[in-house]
């Protein structure tokens, strides 16, 4: 199953090893880990709560992975995303992509992350000294995803 939404932490090394296991056609593994920072938009962050839309979140990410597979010659992709209560230094998301060559693995991995950020239904609520606040969507994320739409 290439998409997992869970409250538990993950071990990136083990996930990557499972993804490529016994496939000697894999020459390249690109991966990304997103982590909770202790500072966001100028405020100290003590922790955050991640909410999602069960069902649609998995479907949406599976669709993003399918798009990446149509677009690049990659073998496999995995997304693990945590929900619930998280604090600074906690891992949030892992995206890993295996392929024969590095260029396509890198592109597919960044594509999946950019689409996840803008299309997958997750919402972050941060705890700061000024109280709780819902994180605002970033324009820079919209810009990042538009790059992929202008390329052939």
């Amino acid at each position: 199953m290439p998409v997992r939404i869970q409250t538990e932490d993950f071990e990136a090394g083990r996930e990557i090893a499972n993804l490529r296991r016994d496939n000697a056609a894999v020459g390249a593994i690109a991966s990304f880990i997103g982590v909770v920072r202790d500072l966001n938009d100028g405020a100290k962050v003590a922790g955050m709560t991640l909410e999602h839309y069960p069902g649609m979140t998995e479907k949406s990410i599976a669709g993003i992975i399918e798009q990446a597979k149509e677009r690049w010659n990659i073998h496999d992709a995995l997304v693990v995303h945590r929900v619930g209560e998280l604090k600074p230094l906690d891992q949030i998301v892992l995206v890993a992509v295996t392929g024969a060559h590095r260029g396509e693995a890198f592109s597919a991995c960044e594509f999946i992350m950019d689409y996840l950020k803008t299309h997958a239904p997750f919402w972050k609520k941060e705890q700061t000294p000024g109280g709780s606040r819902w994180v605002e969507a970033r324009e820079s994320d919209d810009v990042a995803v538009q790059r992929w739409q202008s390329k052939a």
Partner: protein, 84 residues
């Protein structure tokens, strides 16, 4: 009956995460469902305003104003996403 889900700040502002309503006309589109909810006034007026940044999904696919809605559908409203 259709099921409507609300997420994140929208859920908090509207004071509910889910509800079931009967479609007055049997079928409609997202635009007219928004109008129906907007008519509840107060927080609903703002959340369902035509220019609001609230997104919608029909049966777990992102959908625009002209998306058709029929009995049994699952509709969701939510703010722009911020995961990852």
């Amino acid at each position: 009956m259709i099921t409507i889900l609300y997420f994140a700040s929208l859920r908090e502002n509207l004071g509910r995460g889910a509800e079931q309503i009967a479609l007055p006309t049997g079928t409609c589109d997202l635009k007219s469902l928004r109008a129906l909810l907007r008519a509840r006034g107060a927080a609903w007026g703002q959340a369902m305003a035509d220019g609001s940044r609230v997104r919608a999904a029909v049966n777990q696919d992102l959908a625009g104003d002209d998306a058709a809605i029929k009995d049994g559908d699952e509709i969701a409203f939510f703010p722009p996403v911020t995961g990852g």
